[in-house]
């Protein structure tokens, strides 16, 4: 059987767990709201109920033979699921087998949990040599051919399911270990543990209070998957004939039916269904638990039909000319009544940008200021049509050089690169790590201009030198991880400018850079804008940046532009209270920074 790797691979969910812990509104209730979860839980309760009550409820004892009923078909009198080749009642045997399944599950879970949790907590908390040793042991265990080990064990102990399941617990323990360790390491590095240490809490209390609570959610999720695996492996071991032949078990009932396949094929159905349903319940429950306990990093997905209808109505508006205008001669970009939303469920969308209007004149450097979540980046992305997948444009238009880009996909595509270019916030993650700088730049330039390779290369070398990169030749042959952040941002600016666009959208172009480099990059942007007569939108939360290079500034709050003016006027006489607060706080920060230096 394939032990599902992704279920046992904790890395996938290790870090998400911390955020999951923040979901505090009755997880049980939201779990039960999920139909898969509630049906699974009901089924598992039924299994437990059967396990407990079998001695009273089972129609027959597990080994009671009725020679008259050998190979009885399902639904015959007294034998609801039929009888096996020895005349034993299959329903009864499956019911009796339930007990063994549950005990085996608890054994696997218990052993793996105790080992995984203990070593994971210790290794994650203390690190060092201890962690190295435990990691090695864990790797060795994970590379063991588990099922072969169980079979070798059988040669030693004979059919001894408890021992086999305990050993299997050891075999799966690394999945808990790795999960717990990675969570503990990330929690440990978070501030509150340091704070706890300062306060003088003992290690034991820190582990108990903080770490355990952080580890709880992912461990519960993982447990569900481990239980699913335990049911499967138990059935598998019994099916291979390694179990106790005198004790009824699901796997053995299946094996007996399989051996009797030609005579009474229907008998394989019941144990197969029972085993599969039980595993399915644990898997579905695990999935539901993951969704519930670790939901915050998953965004809701809108139903396809709903998304289409929203997009249609936005398009209808545009066709109807609701947003039409005749912009002033020197305006290169005007945004009209732009509304953007994000789904909160399959049917509902929460707007984050509420009908924004914005004009950018040719050659103008326009600052877009606001705190995070104010919608400024959404606005910037929408001008290029590069909003995240799940975002929905609910309405409005983006006129670039007089034409509505949102109305026509091809128009938007043509505008990208040649008309409007983009400078991202985080330089390192915006270069494809698999390609050299030169390859990416050349490919990008050719994609939108169609110049020859040699021509593109020549132009880019010049431009790289222009943006302040010495030895441009060598840099072209480097991979992104081989250059510094500041250089990467210059490369990205170079890539944006190379196509000679009329408008640059720069999303926090300096935030991720060293303070020493920030000023240089801003200076570069300003110079390029002047030289080439490019307009520019600079998205930033830093009023200092605005003061440095912007001609005009718009302030955004809660998805609306609340104030727009030229820089000097706005700094001199802010109208809106929020703008005033923003200015005050930024000055405070500046003062503080000055103090620190």
């Amino acid at each position: 059987m394939t032990i599902d790797q992704h279920e046992l691979d904790p890395a996938a969910d290790g870090t998400a767990a911390i955020t999951g812990e923040r979901v505090r509104r009755s997880p049980l209730r939201s779990l039960l709201a999920n139909p898969f979860a509630s049906v699974s839980i009901a089924f598992l309760f039924l299994i437990v109920f059967i396990a407990i009550t079998t001695p009273w409820l089972a129609p027959f004892s597990p080994n009671a033979t009725d020679l008259a009923a050998t190979n009885a078909a399902p639904f015959t009198d007294g034998h609801f699921f039929g009888a096996d080749a020895s005349g034993r009642d299959i329903l009864s045997r499956l019911m009796w087998g339930t007990q063994q399944t549950i005990i085996a599950c608890l054994l696997v879970l218990g052993v793996s949990l105790v080992l995984g949790l203990t070593f994971g907590l210790l290794a994650g908390f203390y690190r060092g040599k201890f962690e190295t040793v435990v990691n090695f042991v864990s790797d060795v265990i994970m590379s063991l051919p588990g099922i072969v080990l169980l079979i070798a064990l059988y040669a030693l102990t004979g059919p001894n399911i408890p021992v086999a399941m305990a050993v299997f617990g050891v075999i799966v323990a690394p999945s808990f270990y790795r999960l717990v360790r990675s969570v503990v390491i990330s929690v440990r590095s978070e501030l509150y543990i340091d704070a706890a240490k300062v306060v003088g809490l003992s290690d034991a209390r820190i582990i108990g209070r903080h770490v355990l609570s952080a580890v709880r959610a992912p461990v519960i999720v993982q447990s569900s998957f481990v239980l699913a695996t335990a049911v499967a492996i138990l059935a598998g071991v019994d099916f291979l004939g390694l179990g106790d032949p005198s004790a009824p078990s699901w796997g053995r009932v299946l094996q007996e039916a399989f051996n009797n396949l030609y005579t009474n094929p229907a008998n394989v159905i019941w144990p197969s269904i029972l085993i599969s349903l039980t595993i399915l319940s644990f898997v579905l429950l695990g999935n539901a638990l993951r969704d519930t306990l670790q939901a915050s990093n998953r965004s809701a997905v809108l139903k396809g039909a709903r998304r289409r209808s929203l997009m249609m109505s936005a398009q209808d508006e545009r066709v109807a000319g609701v947003n039409d205008l005749t912009p002033a001669q020197d305006v290169i970009l005007s945004i009209r009544n732009l509304r953007i939303g994000y789904p909160t469920s399959a049917d509902d969308v929460r707007p984050v940008v509420h009908g924004v209007d914005l004009d950018v004149r040719k050659g103008e450097i326009h600052g877009l200021v606001g705190e995070s979540g104010s919608g400024k980046s959404q606005l910037a992305f929408s001008t290029l049509g590069i909003l995240p997948r799940e975002a929905v444009v609910l309405g409005g238009s983006v006129f670039f050089e007089g034409r509505d880009l949102l109305a026509d996909k091809m128009r938007m595509r043509r505008a990208r690169g040649r008309g409007i270019a983009y400078v991202p916030q985080e330089p390192m993650s915006n270069l494809d790590p698999s390609f050299t700088i030169g390859a990416q730049l050349i490919y990008g330039l050719r994609a939108s201009t169609g110049v020859s390779k040699a021509q593109a290369r020549r132009e880019l070398l010049d431009l790289l030198t222009r943006v302040g990169i010495q030895d441009a030749e060598r840099v072209m042959s480097l991979y992104p991880h081989e250059i510094s952040g500041g250089m990467a941002q210059r490369v990205l600016i170079c890539g944006a400018v190379a196509t000679k666009p009329h408008l640059i959208v720069a999303d926090e172009p300096t935030t991720a850079l060293d303070v020493t480099v920030q000023a240089d990059v801003l200076e570069l942007l300003r110079e390029l804008s002047r030289e080439r007569g490019m307009a520019m939108i600079i998205v930033t939360h830093n009023l200092g940046v605005v003061a440095d290079i912007c001609d005009t500034v718009s302030v955004m709050k809660d998805g609306r532009i609340i104030e727009s003016n030229d820089v000097d006027s706005l700094f001199a006489a802010p109208h809106d209270q929020y703008t005033k607060d923003l200015l005050v706080s930024s000055r405070t920060v500046e003062l503080k920074e000055a103090d620190d230096e």
Binding site: A85, A155, G241, E256, Y262, T263
Partner: protein, 507 residues
């Protein structure tokens, strides 16, 4: 799965060896070539050979040995000998010694000539792994005459002489016994065309003295560790014949295969603690009789074996010397109440606990629950002891478990049954408790005239029935299915488990 292991043991005590090997399973099956009669005979084997060594060849599915080696004598289905490497033979009065005149002009496949020294070497080598030949003394008169002498009388001397395969003394002296095959048999092993573990090819021995008996130019043996795979192979005519079981025989029949039905085994409980040394209750004959009375033998044959069996009232083969022809009614008819009364009379109404060993895949799983259930009615609590791993057979025969359940061979020569199952030193009489009556009757067998031998055997049978030493259950059918392009006119296997190589003929 279990089917893999479920094959072999369906029987056999002469080759419990084979069963041991069967437990280990092994060997890939498959292959497509050949088949369909003509000059090549392709047979399926449900278990791999235990190796190539001459001394460890099993009788069960022993076609490889049939082909590669000769024996001194050759026994038919009732154990009657005919000449093979020995052309004439003479026993002394108590059958402890045999004088053999050997065939002349026989050559081994290594080119050496067959003579008395080879017999000596072969029997000596057999003695290293087989108790029966451990203490044989040799007297070589000339190169074609040898006398073998055992320290004690051997009533089954015919059978014993039919047993060992003979290789050349050079072979025994060499150190390649596990990897080479040297024999004088009708076929010669072709190592180059064989893959150990999956297929074995033997080609005709051009010098063989009895070539007519073996019409095929080539014999190929293919291993199918799974019964279903084997049946598929015969259905598609990849092979000419293979053993089948009750669950697969219909499948083979429906695709036009011929079937030989064999009755080589008797399923039984062996109550070997007759003196009650381990479990006092078993020392009381009434308890043993009561244990016989709780089994509905007709229902066992009809239901558990789905009609592919007859009820067994005695352990011996129908028609063998010991078989009681007039025993047509169950001597212990199914009567739980009477059985309970007997138990009460014996003072064991409360029963006792009985550990019965269980082997995975030995066809016990069908019967075991029923036995447990029925004995429970006498308050005999059966504890199933699962024997596994390499020590399983040692444990089974150790005497630790006084009442084993097994499907054991019954023989054309009932002396063999008595030796294995009834005598004090019988392999399967696991408690090995002496019994004066049996010993006295056995003396008659050893010393009496032919008639006395027969009647003494019948007396032994009657005695063990009266004493309820066994709980016979059924004579289940064994099946050999074969391609209608070949024929199997005779059945020579003394164990009645399958045709022997010489039984296979062209049409």
């Amino acid at each position: 799965m279990n089917k893999t292991r479920r094959r072999a043991i369906s029987a056999l005590s002469i080759s419990l060896l084979a069963s041991a090997v069967a437990l280990t399973g092994c060997a890939p099956g498959g292959g497509t070539s050949g088949g369909g009669g003509g000059s090549t005979l392709t047979l399926g084997m449900t278990a791999d050979l235990p190796g190539l060594g001459v001394a460890i060849q099993p009788a069960y599915q022993g076609w490889f040995a049939d082909a590669a080696w000769d024996t001194l004598l050759i026994c038919d289905s009732s154990g009657k000998p005919s000449p093979q490497l020995a052309t004439e033979w003479e026993y002394n009065d108590d059958r402890s010694s045999a004088k053999l005149k050997l065939r002349e002009g026989v050559k081994f496949s290594d080119g050496t000539d067959f003579d008395a020294e080879d017999v000596k070497a072969a029997i000596t080598a057999a003695g290293e792994v087989n108790d029966r030949f451990a203490d044989v003394a040799f007297d070589i008169e000339d190169e074609n005459t040898i006398t073998l002498t055992w320290p004690q009388p051997i009533p089954t001397l015919d059978l014993v002489l039919c047993e060992p395969n003979i290789s050349s003394s050079e072979y025994y002296a060499g150190d390649a016994q596990d990897t080479t095959v040297v024999g004088s048999g009708p076929y010669i092993y072709d190592a180059g065309a064989s893959t150990q573990g999956s297929s074995y090819t033997l080609t005709r021995n051009p010098d063989y003295w009895d070539a007519e008996t073996y019409p095929f130019d080539k014999v190929v043996l293919k291993v199918f560790t799974d019964s279903t795979a084997g049946i598929n192979a015969i259905k598609t005519k990849q092979i000419d014949g293979i053993l089948a079981d009750a669950s697969t025989v219909d499948e083979a029949k429906s695709s036009g295969m011929e079937v030989v039905t064999l009755r080589g085994v008797t399923t039984r409980l062996l109550i070997t603690d007759h003196n009650g040394e381990k479990i006092p209750a078993l020392g009381d004959v009434r308890v043993r009789q009561a244990m016989n009375m709780v089994f509905d033998r007709d229902a066992i044959s009809e239901q558990l074996y789905r009609g592919f069996a007859d009820p067994a009232y005695q352990i011996f083969r129908v028609g063998s010397d010991a078989y009681l022809d007039d025993l047509t009614e169950d001597p212990y008819p199914y009567d739980v109440d009477a059985a309970k009364a007997l138990m009460a009379e014996a003072g064991y109404a409360d029963g006792f606990t009985l550990q019965i060993p269980f082997f995975e895949g030995q066809n016990h799983d069908l019967l075991f629950p029923y036995i447990t259930e029925q004995l429970a009615q006498l308050n005999i609590k059966v504890e199933q002891v699962n024997l596994t791993g390499p020590d399983a057979i040692t444990d089974l025969l150790s005497g630790e478990y006084p009442v084993p359940l097994w499907q054991l061979g019954n023989y054309g020569e009932s002396l063999q049954d008595i030796k294995d199952y009834v005598l004090t030193d019988g392999i399967w009489n696991v408690e090995h408790q002496p019994d004066a009556t049996v010993d006295a009757l056995w003396q008659k067998v050893l010393t009496g005239t032919d008639e006395e031998r027969v009647s003494a055997q019948k007396e032994i049978n009657q005695y063990i029935i009266d004493q309820a030493w066994f709980v016979p259950m059924a004579y289940p059918d064994g099946f050999y299915v074969y391609n209608p392009d070949i024929s199997i006119p005779t059945e020579s296997d003394f164990a009645a488990l399958h045709p022997l190589l010489r039984d296979f003929q062209t049409k």
